[in-house]
Symmetry: C2
Subunit: 144 residues, 2 copies
DNA sequence: GGCATATGGTTGCCATGGCAACTATATTGT
DNA sequence: ACAATATAGTTGCCATGGCAACCATATGCC
């Protein structure tokens, strides 16, 4: 019973430490963690997506996405263009300024990932992932 | 590289789902998740502790603890008594009302834990814990 | 004793992110 | 065609929690 509590604390701590390391690198660039997450995500494959897709992929609500994209747009890193197939939706894409920043952002996240992986084999990672997926499935399962 | 992103999303999702399940049970009792966490913690062993100790054990900042304990005190579930050995510190303990609520709170958390564990062996849990500890250590390690 | 420093706690401010209500556009059923 | 419903996005409000500044008490050093 108690070990679940410990595991939850471990996860919380890991996410917090990661966030702090990322923030320490992004701060000097004038970016918040959430902004960095989105720039990284756009730069590494999801450029030109709807906000809803980004929200799904990053697993945060569309409300948060809306605000963070707004901030990034104000800073000139991304732009929203209405999609002509669906005038409710935007297409969010990096501006030239955003693209220039891309490699810098990417290296911030890759430094973190490299640090996490040190001394951890691919097999271990796979195992973590598999076990976490099972836990997630237990929590997702409807009702009882 | 990418799998770390996925794993982080899994952890985020697990913590969020857990929080939501807990909140769903605590809401009808008029308690927030953070309040429930503290009541549970007091009830299952850390009654009569300093706020700093609670903050350490629950892995949240002393500022948050201060606010949540304040809320619980206002609701009459805990009381703060100054320690005579150190007049800066409080001893936080459950009131009679808090003690009465204890079993109810406990069952909320135990239902969650049981749900998480379904189909997951103790060995698996141990493995998750061991791997997460190694990741946490990588993140903690000073500087480089 | 008296000053420097450390520690427990509180408060203000901020970032993140959930939920619900709302607007505007799309889609579906009749 | 039009009413009902669904979907993309925005906004307001709230909970959580970090950080820094601050206050009060403790501790150590001279």
């Amino acid at each position: 019973m108690l070990s679940i509590r410990r595991i939850w604390l471990d996860m919380k701590g890991i996410l917090r430490s990661s966030r702090q390391l990322i923030n320490a690198d992004l701060g000097p660039l004038g970016l918040s963690g959430a902004e960095g997450d989105i720039l990284f995500h756009l730069f590494t494959g999801s450029n030109g997506f709807q906000q809803e897709r980004l929200a799904e992929q990053l697993d945060i609500g569309k409300a948060s996405i809306s605000r963070v994209i707004g901030a990034l747009e104000a800073k000139g890193y991304v732009e929203r263009t209405r999609q002509q197939e669906d005038k409710r939706a935007y297409s969010v894409s990096l501006t030239r300024k955003g693209l220039l920043l891309g490699p810098e952002i990417q290296s911030v996240y890759e430094r973190l990932y490299a640090r996490v992986r040190s001394g951890i084999s691919d097999g271990d990672l796979l195992q973590i992932k598999e076990l976490l997926c099972r836990v997630a499935a237990n929590l997702q399962s409807e009702g009882e």
